[in-house]
Amino acid sequence: MCATCGCGEEDAKATVINMQTGKHVHVHADHIHQHSHEHSHEHSHDHTHEHSHNHSHEHEHAHQGSRTITLEEKILAKNDRLAERNRGYFEALNVLAINLVSAPGSGKTTLLERTINDLKSQMQFSVIEGDQATVNDAERIKTTGVKVVQINTGAGCHLDAEMLAGGLKQLDPQKNSIVMIENVGNLVCPALFDLGEKCKVAVLSVTEGEDKPIKYPHMFRAAEVLLLNKVDLLPYLEFDMEACKKYALSVNPGLKIIEISATKGNGLSVWYQWLKDNL
């Protein structure tokens, strides 16, 4: 049963909640057949069709021996294909889609609230919030006045392209706007799943320790920008800023690093300029 709305959608892998209308939509992982047909023909023609005549003959031959089918298929191919569809959708609308990734508690939602409130007179925003459960973050974003959709992943530890597509249908973003996707707080899994975003922006708070970039290299390698948040707390911490930057650049030499405080405002003008330059 869906824990959010109480309906009997047992197989739903995620629930999308439109905060404007209150509508709940379930995303099901049942599109595999639809999307992988093209691939099965491309890859397995010579192997399947040469040896077997048609499906009705399979059983006669089955006991005489097995046969090996070469697949060479990427396990994440389905997600990658769906992500490309999302990317095309964003391009057609001239939408800048940012996939915001971090550990839980780094300040992603606070950063979003502040960014939207400071820039909403200059550019349009809408937000997809990803969490395992609750609409708490979406409620916070809703107070800024922008459109927001919550995706609850249930047992899932990351958003995937299919969930995002379900969320975008509800969000219906404007042309020439920014879509902020706040991924599930997790420094491992979201690195693997392309959503179709323009880039990943990682947030690391200085309370987390300077060695996070080398402890979780996949995420910092996948990101284009690193926001080092909560720098207003540095006087109270033993955080080695230079070491943190060195670690981050060692896993991703092209990473753009910006020191910010989402609550006090330090460095935010640099972040805002980056957004403007990329819209």
Binding site: I32, S36, S40, H55, S66, T68, I69, L71, L76, G156
Partner: protein
């Protein structure tokens, strides 16, 4: 944790390709730098395969070691992390092997 979802993907892809046939062996290729733990895939596989044409199938995992190539001097080196430092002093290393995540083949009857 994401290995459960990945294993469900693997089983879904193989189930579709298998059609009415039974899969008795499935071979995967997993790179050491892919962020996927082979043992976690093995742990999830039997649960995910239950009730599908893959039930009871042998799971073979070919692991690929990480290799990097320096973008500055072109030297190749083993990589145990997605980051490294080249003998020339550069950190600008791209991963040339170890990020594989593939279903290579399956044996059906």
């Amino acid at each position: 944790m994401h290995e459960l979802g990945i294993t469900q993907n693997i089983v879904a892809i193989a189930t579709e390709k298998a059609g009415s046939q039974k899969v008795i062996r499935l071979k995967l290729q997993i790179g050491a730098l892919s962020a996927i733990v082979p043992d976690a895939i093995r742990f999830c596989f039997d649960i995910c395969a239950d009730g599908t044409p893959l039930k009871g199938a042998t799971l073979e995992i070919e692991e690929v070691a990480g290799r990097g190539k320096c973008n500055m001097c072109g030297a190749e080196m083993p990589l145990s992390l997605l980051a490294g430092i080249c003998e020339c002093g550069s950190y600008d290393i791209r991963c040339v092997a170890g990020q594989e995540l593939l279903i290579r083949e399956m044996e059906v009857v």
